[in-house]
Symmetry: C2
């Protein structure tokens, strides 16, 4: 049996500590002893979301929370603007279309970030836009959109609600909802939260909450009015994804033990060393101009078969990466930086990539990627905590 | 710390074997090594559902599958008939109303089963009914509706699709979907499957599948057309509830090791001994005429405060039972028979109930309930497997 290394941008490897927590005896979700767990999760989520608003929990994948945003914040016939810069931008567009919302799209080349000025121009040209739907981190391309200027562009040029899919951004990059004026922010368990899929989160600004009362779409399972009434007292409208909530409590404990800043720094370190390593191999980054630290998308040279590359990595090296989706299918591979992964896992991924590229006849210099990544590890460590490193130096101990 | 005994009809205690399976390393759901697991689950579910049709998996609680049934099988303006005999019957009614489906209700006193003849009369009186929505086991009252005659009544008197919420029935009572002509059968993980909540299942007959193409309601996350296209090859439309699917595979293995018949027999044994015990205490069963083996609903004597009774059981005896819902709130308590529970757990529940009733001044004969339940255990065992008992008798071994 080959050791299994899951380096995809969701699902992600779940730390043993979280798996143990989820494997413990589960209390009934209405039990008094469960209330503190629910409360801890609520408060912890508020801290990570950067909000004083409720963060609601839904038993669904992230797409369920996206649907909830569309059906709770718009009405059929409303006009929305969608930032379409990848597969998940397309998902916003499809959701709007499915629910009879007119969606104007700001089309962005896959691999590039949206230009807030362009978005502003679209909003100025079309009055009465009800909502702007965007990704913070577009998981299909590894792009980080500039959410702070996007939020300013929306606020300065429209009355629209800004709805941000933070599924692969929250916990990876700072995304302070209240400070930046995001009206709805959502996430999903199988990303920076280090959990299996099946739990989604969504928070609404005061303005967004007021919009719930406009009614419009038929809704039931994802009716956020019901969740807002119950969840302050720990009562989800329907059976909650109990094991994942228990896991989330443990995940938040781990997060706050190290600190939120450390989580951002860790994702940055893994992403930067991967980008350095890939570049040193002469491969091109898809999102070079605006990379997300959630995952790194690497262009596969045209003469290579991406599917075969991924199979070889998986079957001969035990390293699972993700391929491209939609129009990028067969053209990229994606390396995830979320979940129970550290710098040495990234090194393993790069090393396996190097060996595989050589197998496929690509003339790389063996070790160049690993060396460049190692260098980033060294520079990163010495730059961020020199005192501590010095104090622990065994050669100076006596 | 008091030992925790969860005797509610969902969530249910999860066996350690399943918790261990879920706590193992989770493979990516598109990994080739995961396909056999998905296949095993599909085939196992077909066996339990009694169908040759696909059983689709949804990342949601059972209510999500109920919503999927309504939005995929009806159109706004359609007429449906709803069997309303408890809180979950009400849920069908609310779902129809939320989605603009005219719902005629067959109102049944809570605690009684629907009369198939009454349903037939309603269907004869109203032409063009699109669907009949019912529960097999109504978890809020502990009633088992007679699904085979219900299915005949629907088929003989209408063209309507029969949609059955089998959330607390599948795996507890035989409910062979194909043989009985059920058009949609759904279930949820936190019942007889012995899993935490967050995974729902739904299967559609050929006729129901054809109805998907009629269109009608806006739908996206719960669009079963997409699931039917993907799931035969293991691909759910969105991130699947991966840990629960792995747990379900283990749950099905445990089920088939003992046999499906044994599962029905076990639930029957736990339910029967509980009913005997409760009756011996002079308490009345809510669903005496048509009891489900998923849970037993017991009327709380009018002079007692049901909430205080439940708190006392929980806080002083570690036994968690469920109270009543909706119009039965404060009037009943419910004892679950699903999940990792055996006859001795039922004895513990009854013993705690006896002690608590005495605390509240109810003049019961201490031990009467336990004695009656024990007697059922003895009669049950000696009737079902006398040979085996004899063979294992240590006094005869030498």
């Amino acid at each position: 049996m080959r050791k299994y290394r899951l380096l995809t941008p969701g699902p992600v490897p779940v730390p043993e500590r979280i798996r143990r927590a989820m494997a413990g005896t589960l209390l009934h979700h209405r039990a008094p002893d469960f209330l503190p767990v629910f409360h801890e999760v609520r408060v912890g989520l508020q801290r990570v979301f950067g909000t004083e608003r409720q963060v609601l929990l839904l038993a669904s994948s992230g797409t369920g929370a996206m649907e909830a945003a569309v059906t709770n914040l718009t009405r059929p016939g409303d006009t929305a603007v969608v930032v379409r810069a990848g597969k998940f931008g397309d998902r916003w567009f499809e959701l709007c279309r499915a629910y009879g919302v007119e969606a104007l799209s700001v089309d962005v080349e896959w691999g590039r970030a949206v230009d807030p000025d362009e978005l502003a121009a679209v909003l100025r040209a079309k009055r009465g836009v009800r909502a702007v739907f965007a990704q913070a981190s577009e998981t299909s391309t590894g792009v980080l959109h500039p959410m702070e200027p996007v939020a300013r562009a929306v606020a300065d040029n429209s009355e629209a609600l800004l709805v941000v899919d933070g599924i692969s951004a929250v916990g990876v990059h700072p995304l302070p909802m209240d400070a930046w004026g995001i009206d709805a922010l959502l996430s999903g368990s199988q990303k920076s939260w280090q959990l299996p899929p099946g739990l989604a989160m969504i928070a609404l600004s005061e303005r967004a909450e007021a919009a719930l009362e406009r009614g419009g779409h038929a809704r039931y399972y994802f009716d956020l009015r019901k969740e807002l009434r119950g969840q302050p007292t720990g009562a989800t409208a329907y059976s909650p994804a109990l094991a994942l909530i228990v896991g989330l409590a443990e995940s938040l404990r781990m997060l706050f033990e190290d600190g939120l800043e450390r989580s951002y720094a860790r994702h940055a370190e893994l992403a930067e060393m991967t980008r350095d390593g890939v570049r040193a191999l002469g491969m091109a980054l898809l999102a070079a101009s605006a990379p997300s630290n959630a995952c790194t998308a690497v262009r596969v040279p045209r003469q290579l078969d991406a599917g075969k590359l991924l199979s070889q990595l998986r079957d001969h090296h035990g390293v699972t990466l993700a391929g491209g989706q939609g129009q990028l299918s067969g053209k990229i591979l994606r390396i995830g930086h979320m979940g129970d992964l550290d710098t040495y896992d990234m090194l393993a991924g790069l090393a396996a990539l190097e060996l595989t590229l050589l197998d496929f006849g690509v003339p790389i210099e063996l070790g160049a990627g690993v060396h460049s990544a190692l260098n980033r590890m060294r520079v990163g460590v010495s730059a961020s905590a020199p005192q501590e490193t010095e104090g622990r130096n065994p050669w100076r101990a006596s």
